[in-house]
């Protein structure tokens, strides 16, 4: 197992290098704003543009820029400075990470708390009115874009502009360490909004998995052995149905930790996603690179953790 984990970790670095290479290539090969020109003001001299180009290190060959960047990232954990603001990218990402983690963890808790019971009840009561109702609701939630849902929820339920003022509104985020209650208050609505689509998706997935598992031979065998339906469901059915959910969950958490751009934008939560969004708007390559690498890192790591968790959840994987 240890050698497997080490192998996977080594591949993680290779993958991150590939991701950064692709980001670099996209930035240089596709039409994009010249950062030096963008920073030079509207009446620049050619000298000023070259001056800025040199300052930003853009006057060096692309492969040199890339090699230097990789050296800084992997040897010094240095992501460079923002072309736009001059801020240290690593510091900025680290500063914004708690907001993104807060949003992600809370949303995961909310959507799993909603999806698990709904998915299981729908599977058990398949074809019932309750099943139809919850699955229709799930379909609607999946169909609602998070940006739209966020705006509508703010217009309906935020305390400053909502018709039914219940939750804290846009731009109210407070760090957990500063004011735990305000943190909780500010994130309740974003959690619900972000979780809505995921909860619906997971409920549907869990339902279909459980329906499939409950028709397996080993479930019939368990029933034939005289086990109670409750024991069959929890001991054998749920365990088998939840394994694929763990895979997807791990990847989703990884993706969200890389930044929930839409949710962070609509609620003005100063997380990594909003930071990435700002960087994309201004062709700020070091920030784009940094946020993409962080996102890729989380996805790869979560993927690894999922694979390890699999081994514990499913004995067949362990054996293979």
């Amino acid at each position: 197992m240890l050698s497997y984990i080490l192998r996977r970790l080594a591949w993680t670095f290779v993958l991150l290098a590939l991701v950064s290479a692709v980001t670099f290539a996209v930035f240089y090969l596709l039409p994009s704003t010249d950062p030096a020109v963008a920073r030079a003001g509207r009446q620049p001299t050619p000298e000023l543009i070259e001056q800025i180009r040199a300052t930003l290190g853009l006057d060096r060959p692309i492969y040199v820029q890339y090699a230097k960047y990789m050296e800084d990232v992997f040897l010094h954990f240095d992501f460079g400075y923002s072309f736009d603001t001059g801020q240290d990218v690593r510091e900025m990402i680290v500063t914004r990470l708690p907001a993104t983690i807060s949003l992600t963890v809370g949303a995961v808790v909310v959507w799993m708390a909603i999806a698990m019971p709904i998915g299981m009840i729908s599977a058990i009561k398949r074809g019932s009115a309750l099943d139809r109702l919850t699955m229709t609701g799930a379909l609607l939630a999946i169909s609602a874009p998070v940006y739209w849902l966020g705006l509508i929820s703010l217009y309906l339920f935020s305390r400053d502009i909502g018709a039914v003022p219940i939750f804290a509104g846009n731009g109210t985020y407070q760090p957990l360490t500063q004011d735990p209650l305000a943190w909780l208050d500010s994130l309740l609505l974003p959690w619900l909004v972000l979780a809505a689509g995921f909860a619906a998706f997971y409920a549907r997935m869990l339902r279909s998995n459980l329906v499939e598992v409950m028709s397996e031979d080993y479930i019939r065998t368990a029933r034939a052995k005289g086990l109670s339906e409750r024991r069959v469901l929890w001991r054998h059915g749920a365990r088998g149905a939840i394994t694929p959910v763990v895979t997807v969950l791990g990847l989703d958490i990884g993706i969200l930790l890389g930044g929930s751009i839409l949710t962070e934008t609509v609620f003005s939560i100063p997380g990594v996603g909003l930071y990435a969004y700002e960087a994309i708007q201004s062709a700020d390559l070091p920030v784009i690179q940094g946020t993409v690498l962080f996102a890729a890192f989380f996805i790869v790591v979560m993927n690894l953790l999922v694979d390890i968790a699999y081994a514990f959840l499913d004995p067949r994987v362990r054996v293979s």
Binding site: P31, S32, T33, D34, V37, A38, R39, A40, G41, R42, Q43, P44, T45, P46, L48, I49, Q51, I52, A54, T55, Y81, D84, T85, G86, Q87, M92, L151, L154, Y155, D160, I161, G169, N170, G171, T265, V266, F267, S268, P270, L274, Y275, E278, Q281, S282, A283, D284
Partner: protein, 606 residues
């Protein structure tokens, strides 16, 4: 420049032109509420200080100060954008200017009620321009002090001196303080061509309160006008040199470290998130005309613009930090007229490539100007409240506007009908050698932004061109790419039409409005002259006008330049923009007309 919406355009352009770009957000929204109003929104006559909250004759807020404003309280600004540059040596953007002029003082300053004539701020009086126009001398008021957040900083409480002004100019040529407009207005300072952040021999300080600019050219009048720009904000060398030696420059990245001479200072700055400004205890109120009513100003950056508009509408103590969404403008214009103000904001035009066929032929250009439906173009941006249909290039408020014909224009026939004149256009095409009155040649290349409402405006232009027989090969790109293409000389040469260009003046003067856009001397690698206009007579007229100190003669000279450009039909002027700004019900908003947005030093709570 092109249009944009705050929701889609947050690019850091490093230019004030971006402010005009963002004003595109008003578009589409206002046709419904504008109803063709002739919203001459200046309200009062600009003289004196009215009592109460002044409104225009249409009921909109005039954005003027009043005697009834109260002291104290906190104002929160909601901005969809973040700052571009916070170092006064680099600031060159509407949002940055709001900040910079609240925490610093420049040599000269525009009062909210009058943008044509700046008043002395750090300066003790008008700039003294020598008779040959080659020397400009400015005396400083004594007793103005710096304040710093770090009370132990050596500069805290020290007096502003002429040497600090000299250093402010010198550091603008330092690679760690890349200034975007020095080349446009200050290269005539002797010795500046060789400076790289060190001494500029042409700037001297005969005594602690006198700074003198010696110029290689007789352009003292232009330099004097440009002393309202933030480059004329003092930066003490003894304190800032340590920062300027670093890259990135902490004077830019950590604005809490700046030496503040204005009424406020930065207490806290979270890049991309927020900024908190508090009173500067060392601000010497007696030397400043600004009242600085507020105790505290908080900025929320990267706020969702749709939500921010509603928050301002419903909430208290709030104002917009940058241009608004159409929905917000519509809501305020319909339901809270006394809380929305409109301010003139530069112009828009469609440049035609004067150096490439078919538009190298003046008659073809005149035909395009005659054929284009400017009223339809205005409607794509939202109608009359977003701006008036332009008839020439100097917009209202800029000296020379009236002399160039005012709203009616100079009287050329090809701009006489705002909705277009197909018959006249056909006549000009015939004069250009197209007997049918329609173009018969290769397709032309047009570049436009794909943001709304720029893309809608581009459609009108395209339709007009097609009505003249042009086959239009249109490339619709994102706003950043649009800039890159239409400002890059290599690409400009292959483009026939760049739609949705526009300009916001750096200061209220004809030169700041016309020189960069139409002087052939500006045609460097990256330039703002997409028409590639390089007419010796126009160039000479601009160079001559730049040397005139007398305000009336100068205005007349730039009006003449304006008329020449119109007669040259180098571009289609189609809109004189206005920007909307809104406040919560308990906020008294005061507009800095020169920046078309709030003057924070005059804002207050009610």
């Amino acid at each position: 420049m092109t249009d944009s919406s705050p929701t889609t355009d947050r690019r850091r352009r490093g230019t004030r032109v971006a402010a005009l770009a963002c004003a595109g957000a008003l578009a589409l929204a206002l046709a419904a509420c504008g109803s063709g109003d002739n919203d001459d929104d200046n309200g009062g006559d600009g003289a004196g200080t009215p009592v109460g909250s002044p409104t225009t004759s249409e009921g909109y807020s005039a954005g003027l100060p009043s005697d009834a404003q109260k002291k104290g309280g906190t104002l929160k600004l909601l901005s969809a954008e973040a700052f571009q540059h916070l170092d006064p040596g680099q600031a060159y953007f509407q949002l940055d200017y709001m900040f910079v002029f609240a925490v610093h003082r420049a040599l000269y300053y525009y009062e909210p009620s009058d943008s044509e004539e700046p008043i002395p701020d750090l300066a003790a009086g008008e700039p003294d321009i020598s008779s040959d126009g080659r020397t400009v001398t400015v005396k400083l008021k004594p007793g103005i002090k710096y304040g710093t957040v770090d009370k132990n900083a050596a500069i805290n409480g020290k007096e502003v001196t002429a040497a600090d002004i000299k250093y402010a100019f010198e550091r603008a040529l330092n690679p760690s303080v890349p200034n975007g407009y020095f080349a446009a207005y200050f290269t005539s300072i002797a010795g500046s061509d060789k400076a790289k952040g060190g001494n500029i021999s042409g700037i001297t300080t005969p005594d602690e309160h006198t700074v003198q600019f010696k110029l290689d050219e007789p352009t003292g009048a232009t330099l004097a006008k440009a002393l309202v720009m933030p480059i004329a904000i003092p930066v003490p060398k003894s304190y800032a040199a340590q920062f300027d030696a670093k890259q990135p420059n902490p004077y830019e990245t950590d604005p809490e470290k700046q030496a503040f001479s204005g009424p406020y200072m930065v207490q806290d700055y979270q890049p991309g998130k927020s900024m908190t400004m508090v009173r500067n205890p060392n601000w010497v109120a007696g030397t400043d005309s600004r009242p600085a009513h507020l105790d505290r100003i908080e900025w929320v950056l990267n706020a969702d613009p749709n939500v921010a508009g509603r928050q301002i509408f419903n909430g208290t103590g709030l104002a917009n930090g940058d241009p608004l969404t159409p929905a917000t403008v519509r809501r305020f214009a319909r339901q809270a007229k006394d809380r929305i103000s409109f301010s003139p904001l530069g112009n828009r035009w469609v440049p035609l490539n004067t150096q490439k066929k078919p538009f190298s032929d003046i008659n073809v250009r005149k035909a395009v100007l005659a054929a284009t439906d400017r009223r339809a173009m205005q409607l794509t941006r939202g109608g009359a409240l977003t701006g008036d249909i332009a008839t020439h290039f100097l917009p209202p408020g800029i000296p020379g506007h009236e002399q160039a014909g005012g709203a009616a224009g100079s009287g050329v026939d090809y701009l006489a009908k705002p909705s277009g004149d197909p018959a006249l256009a056909a006549e000009y095409m015939k004069k250009a050698g197209f007997a049918s009155g329609r173009y018969e040649g290769d397709p032309i290349r047009m570049v436009s932004s794909n943001d709304s409402p720029a893309k809608e405006t581009a459609l009108v232009v395209r339709r007009s061109l097609q009505s003249l027989g042009f086959e239009v090969s249109q490339r619709s790109v994102d706003q950043s790419t649009f800039y890159d293409m239409c400002n890059d000389i290599a690409q400009q040469r292959n483009i026939d039409v760049c739609t949705n260009f526009g300009w916001l003046p750096d200061f209220f003067d004809g030169l700041a409005m016309l020189n960069a856009n139409f002087n052939g001397a500006s045609l460097s690698r990256v330039n703002q002259n997409p028409a590639l206009l390089d007419d010796p007579q126009i160039n000479q007229a601009m160079d001559d006008a730049a040397q005139i100190a007398d305000p009336d003669k100068r205005a007349e000279a730039w009006a003449n330049v304006d008329r020449m450009i119109v007669e040259h039909a180098a571009a289609l002027p189609w809109l004189w923009d206005k920007q909307a700004n809104v406040v919560s019900k308990n906020v008294h908003g005061v507009i800095a007309k020169w920046n078309a947005t709030w003057d924070l030093s005059y804002m207050s709570l009610k």
